[in-house]
Amino acid sequence: MELTRSDYVLWIVSTVLQLAVCGLVLRGGLYLRLPAFSAYVWLNLLTLALVWWAYLRLGYSSMFYIGWAAFGVALLARGLVVGELCRRVLRLYRGVWALAWRLLVGAAMLLLVYAGLAAYGTRDRLETFFMTAERGMELAAAIVLLLLLVISSYYRIPVPMLEGMLALGLGVWSLLQVVNNVALLLWPDYYAWGSAVKMVSFQLVLLIWIAALRKPVPQEGQALPVLSQRAYDELAPQTNLRLRLLNERLLEIFKT
């Protein structure tokens, strides 16, 4: 299969954007704060170089296997990034994190089992098997990120702008891949388009990440938002007294 001029343009744009993201990661020292994400963006760049090399040296058929293998590794790395983002957002809230990680891991496991079962049903054709598994994993990543935002919103936990935008980018990418994947499975003629859509959506995500990373990474070390004993000793009796009064008032209403 010959690559067209537009394919080359898309690859070049992707490479430039990925280089920009990698540069911003290095500049801001993000590898200290988000090591999995930093490793992931570098891994993506290496994957791109590897696939290019395979196409130019070994031809399209070799590129297919090398491409899928590299993609599998990148997908696993993305799973680690999702986990890292969840931990980063919730880790300061010890009680919520202790409750949330079980929920998030449980949801991810459930979705991955579903993806595995769906892929197993299509094991006769290698490409369909890979694509079905990929769709399930993308959906799992997107739903875990959505759950993270639901939990943050429920407990009014502020999501730092950096982590929020990185999660948004990952979520958008995963969901767009789900649609792209289904279209590829349904319409074989869509293949050439599917590849272009995949690259353009990745470029969109890279732009979101560049927007997130262009500002210097804010300093860490905010005070832990755990109630201090003194604050608790003052707050709890006051609130309890008010709640008790409210209950008494309610009981009075019901008695009359």
Partner: protein, 180 residues
């Protein structure tokens, strides 16, 4: 294909909505005055439930029956409209009380080092129930026994969430005092 597009569309909309909400949550934290005012408001006791007895009285069937014999249709219509406005005002206040207490409970939970699964699940379930009955009451016809029962139930829920918040505070106190 169309189901996937709809599902992904809904999930994408949710993703952007939740992201925007999470970012909005971040904003007041930067304004300490606004945060203090908000926290102080949340600590106020529910103020609308105390009017429940009057509201229940306003919905009594006896009034309707009395007016059916004594008042003109125009007066009755105006009375119905006024009554609906009053009840909806009460319901809005009740929701305000509820949301405030619920927020307080969630904030306390988020700041605590250990959460009770049972209490968290119960608060979540109470929230779902409250919103459901609130929605039903908002559109329910006034004056029926059914509406009165619903009002009882919804007002009771505000009491329950107050109970739950008190229990959560106690549980957190015990967890904080427990030696490590």
């Amino acid at each position: 294909m169309i189901e996937t597009v709809i599902l992904v569309g809904v999930l994408l909309a949710l993703l952007f909505f939740l992201y925007a909400r999470a970012r909005r949550e971040q904003m007041p934290a930067q304004d300490s005055q606004a945060t203090k005012a908000e926290t102080a408001t949340e600590l106020l006791p529910p103020s609308h439930v105390c009017y429940y007895a009057q509201i229940r009285q306003a919905l009594a069937r006896a009034d309707r029956e009395y007016l059916a014999h004594r008042a003109t249709p125009a007066v009755r219509r105006r009375w119905e409209a006024d009554r609906r406005t009053v009840v909806r005002g009460f319901l809005a206040g009740l929701k305000e009380d509820y949301v405030r207490l619920e927020r307080l409970g969630r904030t306390v939970a988020s700041l605590s080092p250990e959460l009770s699964h049972e209490l968290e699940r119960e608060r979540l379930w109470l929230g779902v129930r409250f919103r459901f009955w609130y929605g039903v009451l908002w559109v329910a016809p006034l004056g029926s026994r059914w509406t009165l029962r619903l009002l009882d139930r919804t007002t009771n829920l505000v009491g329950s969430i107050a109970d739950r918040t008190a229990a959560a505070m106690t549980a957190i106190g015990e967890a904080t005092n427990r030696p490590a």
